[in-house]
Amino acid sequence: MRSAAWRISLWATLAFACGTMLVFIFLHRFVAQDIQRRSDAWLSGEVEVLGDVAERTPKDALYGRVVGEVAELAGKEVPNRLPSDSNSDDSVFFLQTASDGSLKLWVGAGNGVANLNAIQATTILPDRPIDLHVTGFSVPFRVASLRVGDGTSIYLGLSERDELRVLRNLSLRFTFLWFLLVLLGFAIVFFTTRRMLSHVREITEAASGIGHSDLSTRVPTTPRNDEVGNLARTLNRMLDRIENSMHQLHTITDSLAHDLRSPLTAIRGKLEMSLSAAQIEQGEPIVSAIEELDRLTEFLNQSLDVAEAKADALRLTRTVIDMDELLSVMIDLYEPSMSERGLQIKLRSSGPLRVDADASLIHRMIVNLFDNELKHLPAACTVTVLLKEEGEAASLVLEDDGPGFAPEVSPHLFERRVKGTQSNGHGLGLAFVDAVVRAHGGTVKACNREGGGARIAVMLPLAADGPASHAD
């Protein structure tokens, strides 16, 4: 969730930054062009005035002085003027060349030779100011020229230093503003997205808490009519339907169980009563009828459980169970039967391991696993029960060195009614194991071992407080 908020904000901010950057670049260019246009206009105007002055001033000894003064005065009215670093004013120069191209008059910093060389290296059309790079100056001059009637040319140069400084200031401010805007944009997008996604996260958390056992809770809804609100309401409607179907399923299985168990109870009771009244020889069919009834009852229980589990609707009454202790008791219970049939059973456990599970279902699951071994293994085999902690789960592995699963049943071991050719069971055993494990959020795998024999691995999630060894 967090990363989604980050991703969205980053992309949005990137797009926003690019957009504002484009706007600023455009603005910057516009301002730069405007400044240039203004200084060009000024230059053209001034150079015309100076040309006028140069033309009208009598060509006497004072000519240089008069034109120089006018040029100097013009230099004081430079647009965009900023205080200069040095005392000498080098932002403007005025240059007049004689008709042979030699320097006639110079007003400005230095002697003007470099400027003259630069001017001579290019051609400057009248009324078309150009940029002129002069050796010895870091910033170019904008130079306008005019050919005066007497064959001389006058050049008025304006350093672009001030203009560049203005533009640099502008772009500095723009950058700062841009940075602030982008930061603000990111913050706004991030916090809105996160707020939005936090609703989604609340819904997810609530939805993940709604499991097999608890279908009655609902995800939090907001009164707003936006997408997230709709999502929550849709989820809740879906949960209503699921709860309803679950309820229906439970009603059906419960009433089926009830309707079958009541007559079974009556039949069993009557059989028992007639058994106590019967002679020993007559008792035999009654006895086997009672045993069949008991088997039928267990079959009924298990198939209803499997049916419910297939629909993820098995109801669990959870308690904390120590698997290690449970397995030792179970092995204690099964060991005599196993050795009676020439089988060995061993427990290899890494110590107490607690799972939060339905005790009755887990008991019956282990009974199914052990019954399975007992019924299918030939004599002189060994069953090894391995229990250990594996990540967040208790791993229970049953290994034997018998013939293993027949290849034709192997892919369908956990399906109902699938049983080996020699099996006399209902074919529910492993389907029930699978059902119970899945209802507890675990996994079960069965395969044949490499060296021969079968291997069934059950993983059950550990209780929240971890292995028992960590507790007192």
Binding site: T253, D254, A257, H258, R261, S262, P263, L264, T265, A266, I267, R268, G269, K270, E272, M273, L275, G283, E284, I286, V287, S288, A289, I290, E291, L293, D294, R295, T297, E298, N301, L304, D305, R315, T317, V329, D332, L333, Y334, P336, S337, E340, S360, H363, R364, V367, N368, F370, D371, L374, K375, G425, G429
Partner: protein, 231 residues
């Protein structure tokens, strides 16, 4: 032979088939049985008479069994209740009652188990007898403190599990115990194995207890369970 003669019992069961055979076998076991087929009748009977113990089926036509029990408790009926349930899962409220001193049994059940649970409930709610440290059945003797069993003075080499099993049989000497009762009481599990695991335990125990050509004490009643003979 019966431990608690003339115990008054109220049987609340709507299935008349079940009601009739339960009444028969309970009367045979020495209980004085009143039966009701619905919650209302049961409530009336419980108010009118006093009962030592109640058997209540959860699925009554007019009233939920638990509601009936809670109502009876409210009007001052203190007798323990054995709940019969044909439901699949054991309700949390049933567990609550179980902790409150009542017991439950799922249908179908063995009569022997029903009788045993009734006896247990009565014993739990009766005056506390001083807990014996020795059990004696004929020439079989169990020292519960030293976890030692002797038959005719001969020490029997029993595993701890076998001792617990024998102790359970002795405590119920003369009465039938079923396989599921043994699994519940000795191993603490309400399970129904598809194999003869309990039989093998009994077989082994019998080999040790009745081994030396003595009079066999542990009898198998096929289809029902086992009895430790007390005479």
């Amino acid at each position: 032979m019966h431990y608690y003669p003339f115990m008054r019992l109220l049987l609340v069961e709507d299935e008349l088939d079940i009601q009739s055979f339960l009444r028969c076998s309970l009367e045979e076991a020495g209980y004085q049985v009143e039966a009701a087929a619905d919650g209302k009748t049961a409530e009336r009977l419980a108010v009118e008479g006093t009962y030592d113990i109640l058997i209540v089926d959860l699925g009554l036509p007019d009233l939920d069994g638990i509601t009936l029990i809670l109502r009876l408790r409210k009007i001052g009926v203190k007798a323990p209740v054995l709940i019969l349930s044909a439901r699949r899962s054991v309700d949390d409220r049933v567990r609550g009652l179980e902790q409150g001193g009542d017991d439950y049994l799922t249908k179908p059940f063995a009569l022997a188990e029903l009788l045993a649970r009734l006896r247990n409930l009565l014993k739990r709610n009766g005056p506390p007898g001083n807990e014996a440290t020795r059990l004696r059945v004929l020439d079989l003797e169990l020292d519960l403190l030293r976890r030692e069993a002797t038959r005719s003075g001969q020490i029997l080499q029993l595993t701890p599990q076998e001792f617990v099993l024998l102790e359970y049989l002795c405590r119920n000497a003369g009465r039938v115990v079923t396989r599921s009762m043994i699994l519940d009481q000795v191993w603490g599990m309400r399970i129904q194995p598809d194999t003869n695991v309990v039989d093998v335990h009994i077989y082994r125990l019998r080999g040790k207890v009745d081994g030396n050509g003595q009079q066999p004490l542990i009898r198998t009643l096929r289809g029902v369970g086992y009895v430790l003979k007390d005479r």
